[in-house]
């Protein structure tokens, strides 16, 4: 007995003596991000984690506020009366992290690199006559023909935001990642402590001069209240939750919904949405291959699928998802109910309609190859549920289980199914990446090889998307967006499977977490 007491006593003593108790004066924010950071170039990558990293290190000429309006950030701007000339004047005191001043030349090179890599940016450049630095602090964009989205695109927080970088980095050839993380943003990247896929460390950029306006999404003053931010990748959610509860980490960017009850009973933990915009789950049809090369078959499939069923199986708790018809996101200015007839009625009623439409479509029993990513929790259930509903409607469906990397690669195949093609897949898009027809990749109606997988072809949609670029008022934009949405439903561009909200969890001692279109690390303190 004495032996046992001594042993346990010794272990307890040893364990407590091993506690590291350094009294650091610096404030460190330890965060578990929603995905590991494996690559760093925020212009080359469309991944959400790389975009969030981009907003740490880099800055943008304009920011987007909570009302979806472009606002000055690195630069103040002026627009000519004919809206053909945009002049940007860099604010005073801007410095790259290597200590050199930010110049207009740097920004011109950065805009060109961004435009070469971003779909909407490429579109903009077809309207641009010139982009020039007229002095160290002034750059001018002159349009060749009217284009109403210049400010919106330069302010967009969605993939890919136009991050500014030194000219020597911005001139990196297409397809190659930049070699250094030198930006002018509110945090400096600590390259020596970066472990790809595991850890990224950022220090407060003490040279950063925030704007004087209040913070609002990516606009306003980016006031940093911590000395250091450490991103940690934790592949196991239970480990992340343990770490949060014990105080090892301060914030989990995205908690699995089914584990939330573990946190809700803990007074030291708060949960909620810090990403103000949700994500839309999308069931994409391959328009090039039978049976979904037939619009009637696509319509039948849309009636067969059920938003609520798909969200229930993926998310479960109704307070974390929304059902709406809007293809641009449920709560954005362009949201409308166009096409909602495809979503109305009970699951049973719509299934009956699906059977009827499928019968009338001349469907010949060609099997549907549905791809299922088994390693991505948020998307692993929808293909199973959708396949079952399609079978009930009369489709033959094969579900092909694969990892996400294989799915991403296979979705680019335009071959027949037997040669590695596909018929249907599910993915999800942050609302910040789909909130208007210019940035929404799934509404591309060109059917071209350069479009995102699925390749729908519709000339009217392309006309409307072009018209949207020159629409001068919000009312005009809404009208155009509505018509595009209706066609997207009628033609079965994709099935809008609902919008979910990612839920974060953080220690109660964190103050002033900023809501935004992505997780923002300015404003917050502890």
């Amino acid at each position: 007995m004495t032996f046992r007491f001594n042993t346990f006593g010794a272990v307890a003593l040893l364990a407590s003596s091993l506690h590291a108790m350094p009294a650091f004066a610096e404030t460190t924010l330890n965060v578990v991000m929603q995905a590991p950071l494996r690559t760093l170039d925020p212009i080359l990558s469309t991944a959400q984690i790389v975009r969030t990293h981009g907003f740490m290190v880099f800055d943008t000429l304009l920011g987007m506020d909570a009302k979806y309006n472009p606002q000055p950030q690195m630069a103040d701007y002026g627009v000519s009366a004919d809206k053909m000339t945009y002049t940007f004047t860099l604010r005073d005191g801007l410095k790259w992290h290597d200590g050199t001043p930010v110049t207009a030349e740097d920004c011109v090179a950065s805009i060109k690199r961004w435009a070469a890599n971003d779909g909407a940016g490429r579109t903009m450049m077809t309207y641009v006559a010139s982009i020039e630095a007229t002095s160290d602090k002034v750059l001018v964009i002159k349009l060749a023909k009217p284009f109403g989205q210049v400010l919106e695109l330069l302010a967009k927080p969605s993939p890919v935001p136009p991050f500014m970088m030194p000219k020597r980095l911005a001139e990196t050839p297409a397809g190659k990642q930049v070699a250094e993380m030198v930006g002018s943003g509110p945090f400096r990247f600590v390259a020596e402590q970066y472990r790809p896929g595991d850890q990224a460390v950022y220090l407060k950029n003490k040279d950063y001069k925030p704007r004087s306006e209040p913070m609002s999404w990516t606009a306003g003053g980016k006031v940093v209240n911590v000395d250091k931010v450490v991103w940690k990748a934790m592949p196991d959610m239970q480990t992340s939750i343990n770490a949060l509860q014990s105080g090892d980490v301060d914030l989990i960017e995205q908690v699995t919904i089914d584990l939330l009850p573990l946190l809700k009973t803990n007074d030291e933990i708060k949960t909620g949405a810090i990403n103000a915009l949700g994500s839309q789950v999308t069931g994409r049809f391959n328009h090039r291959l039978p049976p979904f090369d037939n619009p009637k078959v696509r319509q039948a499939a849309m009636y067969a699928l059920d938003q609520d069923q798909l969200m229930q199986t993926a998310i479960g708790d109704g307070q974390y998802y929304k059902l709406c018809a809007s293809v641009y996101g449920c709560d954005v200015p362009l949201a409308s109910d166009a096409g909602s007839e495809y979503l109305k009625g009970s699951a049973k009623e719509r299934l009956a309609k699906a059977k009827e439409l499928l019968k009338a479509s001349g469907y010949d029993g060609t099997p549907v190859l549905m791809m299922q990513p088994t390693d991505l929790t948020i998307l692993s259930t929808q293909p199973i549920v959708a396949a079952e509903r399609l079978r009930e409607a009369g489709f033959k469906v094969d579900v092909a289980a694969m990892d996400w990397a294989t799915l991403q690669s296979r979705k680019n195949s335009t071959q027949q199914v037997a040669q590695g093609g596909w018929n249907m897949l599910f993915t999800y898009w942050g609302v910040s990446g789909i909130w208007n027809p210019t940035v929404h990749a799934l509404l591309d109606g060109s059917g071209s090889e350069t479009a995102w997988s699925g390749w729908p072809r519709n000339a009217r949609v392309e006309e409307l998307r072009t018209a949207f670029l020159t629409a001068s008022t919000l009312d005009d934009q809404k009208k155009i967006a509505r018509e595009i949405q209706q066609i997207a439903y009628d033609e079965g561009f994709y099935f809008n499977a609902g919008e979910f909200q990612s839920v974060a969890a953080w220690r109660a001692n964190l103050k002033n977490l900023q809501p935004g279109p992505l997780t923002l690390f300015w404003g917050v303190g502890k």
Binding site: T39, Q177, R195, G197, M234, D236, S246, S409, R410, W452
Partner: protein, 314 residues
């Protein structure tokens, strides 16, 4: 002896070449695209093509292999396709935690399983023996992640003796290092404790039936000396073989423990590399692992040759 060593060393070269060829082809035949891992899900085909061209993935497989194998011959393991960092640097960042974890688990294994095995053999058929055997069945049967979560729940969450996750290198002090590595080491050791204690028991039982043990007892030696000086020494060879093999298995199979305790080791790096289709990284890790096994086998063969001259002349 020197010619035997040279001959065995030369034989290792084609082995390594075929491992390299096999790994290279296997990865290229696996569906997936590193360009997509870099550019993300929303990238257009044009962006992906530009990245592929930049990485040289648009070239024929034969020329990709030739370029890789020639740079390997010069000791250049290449750069990660995804992070653009030298793969040796990435492996160097991650091998420390994995080795630390394996060494800690091996220490637990040896200090717990050997006495248990000896005790079970000594009290063969009794309560102690049954208890040790039952414990080893549990060690074999319960998955490491369950053991890990239980240890975390008890010692980290409830008692707060240890942190729930993470790793501190030795450079940050022995105390913090030990504080973080004890629990994962214990979790990882459970299976090996079961294995080695069973092996020790079986080996000890065999040895204890030998005449020299009976003689030692007949001489009037105490049980402690009989057990540890006479029996255990002679039973040690199969035990050491299992311990040695177990260590190699630990290094190459720690991914679950690393995941549960969030240790940035080699196991997680491999999984990350596979998920992102980071060919040079996976190739380098597999080749280095294969090289280690080849080297270990070479050393074992050489030790056989040293102990048995007939092997040298075959």
């Amino acid at each position: 002896m020197a010619s035997y060593f040279l001959r065995r060393l030369l034989m290792a070269i084609p082995v390594m070449f075929f491992v390299a060829l096999f790994v290279f082809l296997l990865l290229r035949l696996t569906p997936g695209d590193p360009a997509q891992a870099i550019a993300g899900d929303q990238a257009t085909p044009a962006q992906l093509a530009a990245i592929r061209e930049n990485l040289g993935l648009d070239k024929p497989i034969a020329s990709q292999f030739a370029a890789w194998i020639s740079s390997m011959a010069e000791g250049d393991f290449g750069h990660s396709l995804i992070s653009q960092r030298p793969v040796l640097e990435m492996i160097g960042q991650r091998i420390g935690p994995t080795l630390a974890l394996a060494v800690m688990a091996m220490i637990f294994t040896v200090i717990i399983s050997l006495p248990l095995g000896v005790l079970a053999a000594w009290r063969h058929g009794g309560l102690v023996d049954r208890f040790v055997m039952a414990l080893s069945v549990v060690g074999f049967s319960v998955p490491i992640f369950v053991i890990g979560y239980v240890l975390i729940a008890v010692f980290a969450v409830d008692l707060k003796w240890f942190p729930v996750q993470g790793y501190k290198p030795l450079t940050e002090g022995f105390g913090p290092f030990l504080h973080r590595i004890l629990l994962p080491g214990l979790a990882l050791s459970f299976f090996y404790i079961a294995l080695v204690s069973r092996m020790t028991r079986a080996s000890m039982l065999e040895v204890m039936r030998e005449d020299y043990v009976r003689t030692a007892r007949a001489k009037g030696l105490g049980e402690r000396i009989v057990l540890f000086r006479h029996a255990l020494r002679n039973a040690a060879i199969p035990i050491l073989t299992v311990v040695g093999t177990g260590f190699a298995m630990m290094v190459s199979g720690v991914v679950v423990t690393e995941t549960v305790f969030n240790i940035p080791g080699l196991g997680r790096l491999v999984v990350d590399g596979v998920l992102a289709r980071d060919y040079p990284l996976i190739q380098a890790i597999i080749l280095l692992t294969a090289g280690t096994y080849v080297l270990i086998n070479l050393v074992i063969d050489l030790s056989y040759a040293l102990s048995d001259p007939r092997i040298r002349y075959q």
